[in-house]
Symmetry: C3
Subunit: 151 residues, 3 copies
């Protein structure tokens, strides 16, 4: 195994990165589930087995499907930067306790963000969980740039 | 060169990661090609050289352009997680043969997925190639979390 | 700190990766700003505090909000591949001067791309800054695949 994987901070990063990426991957089957139950598809070949007269009606957008897709998009916009910055952050050798705090808060925020988005919890629940997640990424980026800066 | 690049598994990961990212990058010129041939643009400045009366008509969505864009989005949702999880997986020191199997199946699936999406092949060709790609990523994530777990 | 962070090329990569990811993260608050000032929201819970009769009108798309979102999407499609390929590129041990040239041109292009997109600068300013960014990523991918190729 690579030396990196003997470093505790890097192992913690690996764990939480895998968790939030798995959470993000879950959004695709969730979208498929909503598409099937709501009967709202994007591609003609996806409804080819339905009777001809039904097909046109099934090629539509549905508010609940669009909501899951926005949640998935928000994951892409936030989880991918977290993993990329987090990788660099883990390599700067932070304290394990500080690193774990960053990773745990971010993972918790994003899991709660998905629940808030899909269950239509009243604001500011979704907004706050998004904001705290961004602040975690910014805090890691600050540590990265203040440790390593070659312009 | 970094020590990592002397590890055969990491070299294999690097090769396949570069291939699938290049495939994903190809979707942007493909979108541009469809926008030009179908005459469907998103930004007013992109049609500024056309005669005034044509401009409004060119600012529209086209089903074929939207299809390429969905394919590109699906790449973002699947190839980026593969590369991120694959990087961590390669660092856990798997057998070269097992790693190559994962990388080759994923790359094959995603190339076929694009062909199936753009050529409107009948389902379940697109669905299956998507699913197998996700299963490869899940299998690597399972290996990562069962080797390295610091919560 | 990990050995990697003592390598000058990797430190330069880390710096520029952090910069372009921070630039990408900025697109979300910019979208929020446009949503608030233009009064165009996507989720019913986001307008729950407004008077009942106004709510429906606020759940709409706005051309300026959509423009910022397209810019954000373009960042996802280009900055994420740059960071992933750039990481592998930095590990292949290029000359510091060559690496810095790649990173600086890319960062400059993407910052200019955002300005061109949001300020609606006439084409080909946006198109060219996108293209040069892609060429930088392709040049790094070429170096990666010509140094490390395990199929």
């Amino acid at each position: 195994m690579a030396k990196l994987m003997e470093d505790e901070v890097f192992m913690a990063f690996t764990t939480y990165a895998a968790i939030v990426i798995l959470k993000m991957l879950l959004m695709a089957p969730l979208t498929a589930f909503y598409r099937l139950t709501k009967g709202a598809f994007a591609n003609e070949e996806d409804v080819a087995l339905k009777p001809m007269e039904e097909r046109k009606k099934l090629l539509r957008t549905d508010p609940d499907v669009e909501r899951v897709r926005r949640c998935h998009q928000n994951d892409l916009e936030n989880i991918v930067p977290f993993v990329l910055i987090g990788l660099l952050y883990a390599l700067t050798g932070p304290e394990l306790s500080a690193a774990l705090l960053h990773f745990r808060v971010f993972a918790g925020c994003r899991i709660f963000h998905t629940i808030a988005y899909i269950s239509v919890l009243p604001q500011p629940s979704r907004g706050l969980s998004w904001l705290v997640g961004v602040l975690v990424t910014l805090s890691m980026a600050y540590r990265v740039l203040s440790t390593v800066l070659v312009l």
